[in-house]
Symmetry: C2
Subunit: 664 residues, 2 copies
């Protein structure tokens, strides 16, 4: 069964070893093998089909997800998969489900915030899925401001219980995934009240539904919050609403690792450092950055392959038209996104190292790098998710009209991705956290406290405030030192300018509020510098495989110079480069696009995505787009009959001018 | 039945006459009254309900649209509505349907391209909807490049017929709305072949379905192309696929206004100027610009009202938290979009004048302004639709997590709007058309041919190449002359730079291709200048109503200065302004935001949208958001039962560790 490869010529033109690049992308041989194996297991199992997803009405869609989740769990048991393998398998099933919250939030919350006793009791149940849990924090009226949560947990010393209650409509838990229809338990965040005193927000393990018949327990109102963006996307998830009417739980179900309530109703803090919370945040956000590179690379893979298949205009003497990927306008929009996918992959890798580093330091009671690591991950979460969301939509546009079809996979990829800009910290709020850290760093310059980690460059502030970029020819922009200095100067000068402007305001707080749009821009400049730096650092390592490093160097330059072009205003207004240098960078960028062009399809092949995972007719590995688009079309329920349902009631009377008497 | 208005304080703080602003927004008293009346007719008729739209599976969704279209037609007849009123009524029904193509493309195509005889025959049938028509141009393999269409219409002189045929899979008509399931007829574009000679693409009226039983006629394969972006959105439309297997139509069904085929098979050109086609394009694109201001204002209305309702952080002494609209980061993202809605409204108004002007000139055989008008509308179509698509998504993000719910209305608004970036000319292709016109204009500078209309500023090229912006204080940026000159200098210098760089290339064509990304940027600069100019011109007219003009002046400045900030790089790299001046403009912008703040809710009220049309719980006029969100949630089909369908098959066995033996 020889299969035609319509992209064979594209693959032949590649100037590097694709198999070696696959290892680089995956991070290691082992990581490649796990991903490869898990993705094939999912792709080859008809139970995991997803091509009909956008056609299912909500109830069927949801039931179908329950089926897949159960099937995945069954396979995980049968194949005796390790925790890492199981996580990968779930990842390739590629459908938001209650299990995401169970494994990704409920279990970690108990692990991180539960006492040893609590862990011993609850984790085995959760690991075997004898209970299913979710994470109920956000409320209808309260998202980013966790301290504003209204749900109460009042200690009743007579019965040794907490009474959970939703005092207002806006205190209804709202959004938690897995809550609406599935979870038997939840970690619920509520204000702890003891004898009328408010001890702030704490976590509680609460059973929501009977383990016998799945009915909500007395005092609990729970349901789904309704349809969300997209036709499939997060509609496979039962994001839920939850209200408590004086629901009682044993005192032992408050998560007690960091603070406890005693039998007598005394609130006690343990000696476990509260900073642990930040360590968890670093962990979660680090995974979000990794997910960003994954979602982005997926969109780029689809757009790149289809840009090589699609032809439009430019036919010479009746020959074929020009491949869309050969147009400079297409390249100038697509290749920076391809480069960004790699950039985010590597910064994600580095962040996972950073998390390990922070964890080890925490264990040694060294908190010195935590604020910087926290700011850095917050910023990178914001930057990478915002960019990725926009990039997916840009990839859809790059696929022209057909990108609008569900069968292109891009609408669903967009709809399912964008919540990442909001969850685990709204992206604007996060940028302002970074900015606050930058302002603090600037204010401490000249003191004994030296900036560390990703803010270390601020230590050379005097140089960065007055240095002049020495790019004189387009090729100078290929030098890492030239690029880094320009990005450092831009970021440092924007931060310093903000600090100066704040100092002119009546108060630092008022100034910070007034100048927050500028501060957000300074934070972005800082975060982009981090990504550029980490990409460059990656290239200073040994990288195996013919031509692999050379390709990555091209991509690194494309990433940096396309950012420089896009944010020219920052670089010029801070005097970090001259208009002439900006123009040289742009010239260099054009010739980099020409270098990337013959390698583009092979570069997206190195993501090693199966057609199942891509879920896109336009992005098919074999490039056989048109016959498959045509085939897909006929599967729509509307095509079940030639004459549509409704013809006799609504079309015929209209054509026959019999509407006046018709009952509609 | 007194209703609470949660936004009453916001409305009280407005410093202008909202009723007068409504007239300005509508364009005239008459236009306001028609819109107002039609929108109320639709809103008050339960048959036009749309709140359940995202929950319907495709077939029901489509049938529901057929019902609404028939009901709308019935009401139009019963109420004896004028053509303008009928169009408005359909607009407020707010659901893509086959009627859009019938009225918007099929009828105009026959009017514009049909001979008098053809018009006399077909138009009465179409006007009474005794036939339903669509517009079949795009093919599976061919979109932007109309000259590349593959469908053939071969003249058979023996039978005096054309034989329509789809020679390849890629020649299948693909995308036409109304084609898939409803239309009885289509205007089909095909290559005209006579005696083996190719006379290029022409239009033909083709019957597709029997008027008796709605079955496709022999030789015709027709169906729906499947699900598209969003859950409702364009899934109410039967975008279709169509293949011809040697389908015969009478010779008289070629549209013969501009060229004819005689009984003998001679191809004859009439003396009707071919430029008429461009006139039609100006018309269609002008309506697209008007639609952009409508979609954008709708999104802005939702985001503005919700930003005033939503509170987060900043609670003092247990008081209410800060309204989100009071944050500068929110203002700096939202208010430019509010200003853009007005800017696009006014440039749309001007374009409709331009169309009238062009039409009158065409009738007097004056083609002199046509190329400029054509370039200008192409550019404004591209600019306004791209900006609006991004702006809707930005408004969704400005609504935080709840913007992701379908009940916010924003996901559907986005999904239904974005095709505007692709249809009637892909936005990138259009920008390059503008750029080509600009390069031609630059090349003719100094010749006798003076630039006209929106390129007239190029006539002052010498001044614009060397002028220096004289803004010295922030307030100087409020002067229209300062703003206009900066925008003119930027646009002119970017065009001239492109022309210079092209001249260094081996050939103009190669240069144009190589520099197309820069050319697209120059085209955007030119188009933004047009919008800014037309806004400023609008303000030079008399505008009635207390405070109305003052508000518009604030919005005009916000529009211009936010663009200037966003595209700082252009202004600085061309030396049109200095970094210091850019910073002053930004300072001015901040104080303009403060001026706009108390008027924001009243400004969006002046769009006069009903809650039905907005279709958004977050954007409700009365601001009563939370109880309604809660109410909406329970309507989801998933909440029909407390225990979800699938519990017994998939959740219970999992919880009970009985999966091994379960059949999934």
């Amino acid at each position: 069964m020889e299969e035609l490869d319509y992209l064979a010529n594209e693959r032949k033109s590649a100037k590097f070893d694709v198999e070696a690049m696959k290892i680089v992308w995956a991070g290691s041989q082992q990581s490649f093998e796990i991903s490869d194996r898990m993705s094939r297991i999912v792709a080859s199992d008809p139970a995991f089909r997803k091509d009909n997803r956008t056609m299912l009405p909500r109830k069927e869609l949801f039931k179908n997800t329950l089926r897949k989740a159960a099937h995945a769990w069954k396979r995980i048991i049968e194949l005796r998969l390790s925790e890492a393998e199981a996580a990968k398998l779930r990842f390739f099933v590629d459908e938001p489900a209650f299990t995401d919250l169970h494994w990704g939030m409920f279990v970690p919350a108990i692990k991180g915030q539960g006492s040893q006793e609590q862990q011993d009791k609850w984790l085995p149940l959760a690991y075997r899925m004898q209970i299913i849990g979710c994470y109920a924090q956000t409320e209808l009226g309260h998202g980013s401001n966790v301290q504003g949560l209204e749900t109460t947990a009042t200690f009743d010393s007579e019965t040794d219980e907490f009474v959970l209650h939703s005092p207002t409509l806006t205190s209804s838990k709202w959004w938690p995934g897995g809550l609406g229809k599935v979870s038997t338990h939840a970690v619920v965040y509520a204000r702890l009240l003891i004898n009328g005193k408010d001890y702030g927000v704490n976590g509680f393990i609460v059973q929501l539904r009977s383990l016998d018949d799945h009915l909500p327990l007395p005092g609990i109102t729970v349901g789904d919050i309704g349809m969300k963006f997209g036709s499939g996307a997060y509609n496979t998830m039962d994001n839920g609403v939850l209200q408590f009417d004086h629901v009682r739980i044993p005192r032992t179900q408050m998560l007690m690792r960091v603070s406890q309530v005693t039998r007598e109703g005394k609130y006690v803090q343990s000696d476990v450092p509260r900073q642990l919370v930040y360590g968890t945040m670093v962990y979660v956000r680090q995974t979000i950055v990794a997910d960003a590179s994954c979602a982005l690379s997926r969109a780029v893979c689809i757009a790149t392959r289809y840009s090589a298949v699609r032809r439009q205009f430019g036919s010479q003497d009746g020959g074929p038209e020009t491949q869309v990927i050969d147009y400079k306008t297409q390249q100038s929009r697509l290749f920076p996104l391809l480069a960004t996918a790699f950039a985010y992959r590597f910064v994600g890798e580095w962040l996972s190292w950073l998390y390990t580093d922070v964890t080890q330091r925490l264990q040694a009671n060294d908190f010195s790098t935590l604020p910087e690591a926290h700011a850095c991950t917050a910023g990178l979460k914001s930057l990478t998710t915002s960019t990725t969301a926009d990039a997916i939509e840009e990839c859809r546009k790059l696929c022209g009209g057909h990108g609008y079809l569900s069968s292109s996979g891009l609408p669903e990829l967009f709809a399912v991705y964008i919540p990442a800009c909001t969850y685990e910290g709204d992206n604007t709020v996060l940028l302002l956290q970074v900015a606050r850290f930058l302002m603090k760093t600037v204010s401490q310059l000249g003191s004994n406290k030296k900036p560390v980690g990703t803010t270390a460059y601020m230590g050379r502030i005097e140089h960065l405030m007055q240095c002049q970029c020495n790019a004189q020819r387009a090729e100078d922009w290929l030098k890492p030192s030239v690029v880094i200095e320009a990005f450092e100067a831009r970021a440092a000068r924007m931060s310093v300018a903000c600090a100066k402007n704040i100092s002119k305001m009546p108060s630092p707080e008022a100034g910070f509020a007034e100048l927050s749009p500028d501060l957000a821009e300074a934070a972005i400049a800082h975060c982009q510098l981090i990504v550029v730096s980490k990409f460059i650092e990656k290239l200073q390592q040994d990288i195996a495989g013919k031509g692999v490093k050379e390709q990555l160097e091209v991509l690194c330059s494309i990433y940096a110079l396309s950012l420089l072009h896009k944010h020219q205003g920052d670089f010029l207004s801070t005097g970090s480069i001259t208009p002439k240098q900006a123009s040289l960078a742009n010239d260099q960028l054009r010739s980099l696009y020409a270098q990337a062009r013959p390698n583009a399809v092979a570069l997206v092949d190195s993501f090693n995505y199966t057609d199942h995972f891509l879920g896109s007719v336009l992005g098919r590995y074999d490039g056989n787009v048109y016959p498959k688009l045509y085939e897909e079309a006929w599967k729509d329920p509307l095509n079940d009959t030639v004459v549509p349902d409704g013809y006799h009631e609504y079309i015929r009377p209209l054509l026959k001018n019999q509407l006046r008497t018709a009952r509609l």
